[in-house]
Amino acid sequence: MDKVRALIVDDSSVMRKIVERSLRQAGIELEKVVEAANGAEALIALQSNGVDVILCDINMPVMDGLEFVRQVATVESAKGVPIVMITTEGSESHVVQALSAGARGYIRKPFTPDQVKEHVLPLLGKKP
């Protein structure tokens, strides 16, 4: 795959930077990184930005990550874009809810760059 356009959704700007760094450490060449602080901002960002992968927190103000994943399914331009949840919520029910809503991967915080590599690369058609 060529350079990747990523949407990173987290209410912590520090965490957004760490996720971006982890993507680069995974060997993913980033063409563009779009940041959003919650699900509502992310939906707006998707209106004007095509992306190849979305990495999304769950616990966020305004619109949480689970609701965002449900609503992404209704955004024509984002259909088929893989979503990976990165969250402190580690319960089985959260994993099931996220995957049922359309997420393709689930990473629990705290996380290592290797975990990002393992979950994200296959979704981009690369071997981890």
Partner: protein, 160 residues
């Protein structure tokens, strides 16, 4: 007896302190690349220049706080971000995320709790002149860790 009350009352009997300390150590090692050791709370005076808080609701009700001085909060942000860190806002954001991850990691280690317990988004107070009062008194677990030689105070206050 409510589920929340039952869990809070059992906390000391089940000795949750080692679980909390393990959750803290994992977060610092994985996210900051820093091996921290815990020390007795009585060895250090609490510094609350920065206080991060995450609330728990459901089977476990209460609040987890992480307190440290401003310099330490900046060092935490720098370790998380590398050279990019610098502002007070980033220090507060980083401490809030550390608090969030410690709370989530602790919750996930308690068998039977993670499915029935929700976390709030983190809040951070800058400035030490405040008093903290919980309306529903319960047990508490407290520990202090040394991060680059400076104390970081972690307290889990449970509601009955």
């Amino acid at each position: 007896m409510s589920a929340a009350g039952g869990l809070a009352e059992r906390s000391h009997e089940e000795n949750w302190l080692p679980i909390l300390e393990l959750a803290i150590q994992e977060v610092f090692e994985i996210m900051l690349g820093s091996k921290v050791k815990t020390v007795a709370p009585s060895e250090h005076a609490a510094n609350t220049e920065f206080t991060a808080m995450v609330g728990l609701a459901g089977a476990l009700c209460g609040i987890l706080t992480v307190c440290c001085d401003g310099k330490t909060a900046c060092q935490i942000a720098t370790r998380m971000l590398g050279d990019a860190a610098g502002s007070e806002e980033q220090a507060a954001d980083a401490l809030g995320e550390i608090c969030n991850m410690i709370t989530g990691n602790f919750k996930n280690k308690l068998a039977g709790t993670d499915e029935q317990c929700m976390l709030s988004v983190p809040s951070v107070i800058s400035g030490g002149k405040y008093s903290f009062r919980s309306l529903a008194e319960g047990g508490s677990i407290e520990t202090v860790l040394l991060f680059e030689g400076a104390p970081v105070f972690v307290r889990l206050k449970l509601h009955r």
